[in-house]
Symmetry: none
Subunit: 225 residues, 2 copies
DNA sequence: GGGGATGCTGAGAGTCCGCTGAGAGACACG
DNA sequence: CGTGTCTCTCAGCGGACTCTCAGCATCCCC
């Protein structure tokens, strides 16, 4: 668990550093915005603790730059009670939480832990095509209320097709994506597995989500057939 | 991009509303389940943000009703950490993603964007000539609402002509582009396939999108005939 | 209006493509 | 060591598609 602390006041930085290390975190300290952005670019932090009042590029600036670059690492803002930014600003500029100085270290630690808890279960959303659904994270899928029992290969095939609904995917593409890029066997394997899949997701329901496009490939109907 | 936010807590609803509008979304707010279902029935939302704890019909109820009605709009559930429903429930009842309160707006926005990316995959543009259309990615085509069932060769021929509307293309050019550059058979094959195509895209509709230019080739009318 | 050139069309044959059932090999588990 | 599950290969079938060919229609120039 790596944490970046952006803070120019030496004593605060040192205190936080010491405290977090005692809690088994890896800590990096940046004393200004430039250094912070440099570190963030080259490291993968679990949380960033960011003081707003910094020399040069301030915290406000750092946070916006960060978000603009598509970095979604949780940011905890530190503000002075009498500062020019208030809590609303802090959240508006892309922070996930804020803390007003002075704060106790226990509170800071609690907030950091809360952010970590929240950001770790990054589950991918459920894929859908009509009443056909597949949850990649839970590795479950079904049609309507009925659960479907698929083998790993069948599951992979369906997942890939659900990620490309209403698009024809060729057998070679499927081989490369669902099997592996260097697959050298008989491409007929795709037909075989499409057959298996149909017998599980279509035939029993009298539907046809997977359509054959002769000479081109297969297409999953976005409405589920 | 229209988003429905179902949330009874005024301050949260207002904050989300403000944030989403700043990001160029059209936002509707519903403060209870009844109103939400009413709005959903009459509008086409890109995403629905749904709080589970609502007065009257709760979010659980709303989501199930929605799915039962065959509406597949992505739903993002908001749950309180200490609520009676957990994430597993949220996904089981037909949601696409969930977020635990408290959440930061950036995270919410990121999740909404992820759902949008999935439901509106950027696809190659659909080719058109009047009411005649062809979607290369989905490998589908039709005239108006009517779908046309073409063989691969017919499809290739129509696609090429749609990419060169109002332009005379010679038979040798068609042979080279739709068949292959080394084609050595009877060039009459082009006439044969133009015939097949006409019988599918023109004759049944009393139209004539493909015109013969004697001694030169064929031209597809950009207005679809 | 004749006649050659050009384009259209129906019939049919051969080929290619995709689907399926049977079964072998790999692997995990009891 | 047997049993069950999963993955993959193979061969045959049936049907869809492509293409050829020959005869007919149409156009255009003389």
């Amino acid at each position: 668990m790596r944490v970046l602390v952006v803070e120019d006041e030496q004593n605060i930085a040192a205190a936080v550093d010491r405290g977090l290390r005692a809690e088994e975190f890896d800590v990096d300290i940046a004393e200004n915005g430039e250094k912070a952005l440099g570190l963030i670019r080259h490291n993968d932090y679990a949380v960033i603790v960011l003081d707003l009042m910094l020399p040069g590029r301030n915290g406000y600036d750092v946070c916006r730059t960060l978000r603009a670059a598509g970095i979604t690492t949780p940011v905890l803002i530190l503000t002075a009670k009498d500062g020019e930014y208030d809590e609303a600003d802090a959240l508006d500029l892309g922070a996930d939480d804020y803390l007003t100085k002075p704060f106790s270290f226990v509170v800071l630690l609690a907030r950091i832990r809360a952010l970590l808890r929240r950001s770790t279960p990054q589950r991918s959303p459920v894929l859908r095509a009509g009443d056909l659904w597949l949850d990649p994270a839970a590795h479950r899928c079904g049609r309507g209320d009925e659960r479907l029992d698929l083998t790993p290969r069948e599951f992979g095939l369906l997942e890939f097709m659900l990620r490309n609904p209403d698009t024809v995917v060729s057998k070679t593409e499927l081989l490369a994506q669902v099997w592996d890029a260097w697959f050298e066997g008989d491409p007929n394997i795709v037909e075989v597995y499409v057959g298996y899949l149909r017998r599980k997701i279509d035939t029993p329901f009298g539907r046809s989500a997977i359509e054959t496009v002769r000479g081109v490939g297969y297409r999953l109907d976005a409405k589920g057939g």
